[in-house]
């Protein structure tokens, strides 16, 4: 397909359609409302449904209902909206249903602001809902990558029967870049016979499917939690993604950064290189599971003296970075979280001050 010039939010909507998802339930919030604006025009063209819920709480349970019935379904929201959905996300994870949630993050806490932020890292990777539930979390750094991640999110959600989150910052939603879409991939979830409550008529198996998250028997509840845990371990083994930059030769320090923040860091690394200072970067593409092995490999380079986590938050991912560097090197954080994105010049100053 020829390229189109699209905002990230529009491209996310189109990518979901291309992934065969024809159910979109949402509630508007800046900076992601363009997904709804795009899909309100586009869904009727492909026979799909866009339904605005009366709140994000309602939307969360509309997603649960559609997912439980074996339908591909997704929603998009921004930070405070995701907080409202988090109860439903926990239910969906407990009932082992697939669904895709997109969080185009804005500054927080509370109402915060409407400019870009990455301050929902901990929420997405560790605290999305109550109980022992986790999401598979992917973080795009370009509009094209957002398209690819959204299209992958649906099959991954079905493979693991677990919600998947695309964690983008406001800039990913709002910026425009040329994008190409892969061919139309409309396909049904392959394994839904085992769980979808879509009536006995279509099913090969004769057993009843039941969508539930209530297990009053302590042994059964523990078993369900063990199943979930085993699934999260499988994600760790099978679905980790990261990208390295300027790590082939020696480097004095390693930046860890994701999303659009990593693109600022990339420019800074190029500018530092022109001054003769070599800095490497690891960009996690999945935040859960975190690319712990890639990080361990990158910090094992003898020339590397420092690891710097740069994020649009007050220091969230740095907790994982610190955990996986395992005390081998000093780890520090730099960031901002008000909507002002650190500039390449600021990154350069921090690098020089800390280790170069």
């Amino acid at each position: 397909m020829a390229k189109v010039l699209m905002k990230g939010n529009e491209a996310i909507g189109e990518a979901a359609i291309r992934a065969g998802c024809l159910n979109y339930f949402a509630y508007p919030i800046t900076p992601q409302s363009e997904v709804a604006e795009y899909l309100v025009r586009r869904m009727p063209e492909v026979g799909g449904v866009f339904l605005q819920g009366e709140s994000e709480v309602a939307v969360g349970y509309m997603i649960f209902g559609a997912a439980g019935a074996g339908e591909r379904v997704f929603t998009t929201s921004s930070s405070p909206g995701i907080s409202l959905m988090s109860e439903a996300i926990s239910y969906i994870a407990a009932a082992q249903c697939p669904a895709v949630f997109v969080n185009i993050m804005r500054g927080g806490p509370g109402l915060g602001g409407i400019l870009p932020s990455q301050a929902d890292y901990l929420q997405a990777t560790k605290g999305i809902g109550h109980g022992d539930c986790r999401l598979l979390v992917m973080a795009p750094a370009s509009v094209q990558e957002a398209v690819e991640m959204v299209m992958n999110a649906f099959p991954l959600a079905e493979k693991y029967r677990n919600p998947v989150m695309i964690l983008g910052d406001g800039l990913i939603g709002q910026m425009m870049e040329p994008v190409a879409f892969p061919d139309h991939l409309k396909s049904e979830p392959t394994n839904k016979d085992a769980w979808a409550t879509n009536g006995m008529d279509h099913r090969k198996s004769k057993s009843r499917n039941l969508v539930k998250s209530l297990f009053l028997d302590p042994v059964q509840l523990n078993d369900n939690n063990l199943q979930l845990k085993a699934k999260y371990e499988r994600m760790r083994a099978e679905t980790v993604m990261s990208e390295s930059y300027n790590t082939d030769g020696d480097y004095t320090g390693l930046i860890v950064s994701y999303g659009t923040m990593s693109r600022v860091c990339r420019t800074a690394i190029d500018m530092l290189k022109a001054e003769g200072i070599e800095v490497g970067m690891l960009r996690p593409q999945t935040l859960f599971p975190f690319p712990e092995k890639a990080l361990a490999d990158a910090v094992s380079k003898p020339s590397c003296t420092h690891v710097l986590s740069i994020e649009m938050s007050m220091g969230q991912m740095v907790e994982d970075v610190d955990r996986f560097v395992r005390g081998l090197l000093p780890v520090s954080w730099y960031g901002k979280c008000g909507g002002d994105i650190p500039t390449p010049e600021e990154v350069i100053d921090v690098v020089k001050e800390r280790f170069a």
């Binding site: 390229k3 189109v4 010039l5 699209m6 905002k7 529009e10 189109e14 800046t30 900076p31 363009e34 604006e37 795009y38 025009r41 602001g113 409407i114 400019l115 406001g170 800039l171 709002q174 910026m175 425009m176 870049e177 040329p178 659009t260 693109r263 600022v264 990339r266 420019t267 909507g339 994105i341 650190p342 500039t343 390449p344």
Partner: protein, 235 residues
Amino acid sequence: MKLEFKGIVIIVGAYGCGKTEVSINLAVHMHARGTAVRLADLDLVNPYFRTREARHELTRLGIDVVLPPKQYMHADLPILTPEVSGMLRNPSGLALLDVGGDEVGATVLAALADSLRGKVLQVLQVINPNRPHTNTIDGCLTIRREIEAKANIKITGIVGNANFMEETTEQDILVGYDFSRRVAEAGNVPLVFITTPVKLLTRLDKKAIQCPVLALKRQLVPPWKRAESLDTSES
């Protein structure tokens, strides 16, 4: 062919068609030609990539930028500063309005109806055929009808802004020119000008283009890129 504008010029169009880049660059171009320019940021619907992000650069060049009060600069609230109706009542030189996207963004013009009544207006619809929804002539005409209905205003001309941002090629400009000409013809309005990234200006086959061309120096860039310098503004 030279670009000549005075009086009130209103820039409208679909979301993301490039209204703001066109407005900023048109303001700089006319200012460099000796016209007094006031540019109002009327994008009340989208909080990202607005004229206000280029305010320091524009002010430095001597262009008068009309903005919401400072404390609301980063809001997406429907704030219309009284200065806007002032600049419309007594336009001197060029009064340029950069309006928000789609019919939703253009609704603000209905609120300015009193100030606009009886005035000679140029209302220019910016189109980029590489964007969804405006990739067909029908799509462009639909947006036009929607904007005219909500804003209660008639579009008087087309601005062809075919681009893929920094990936734009000469071919994109020529194909876009042809498309824009057909949109103008179908809508029975003139194609007022087209744009080109400044780096392609000298490479374009001018004989193939029968309308003025505005060279764009991209201003609204993500934080890992630098805006192009506006200093040598004669184009």
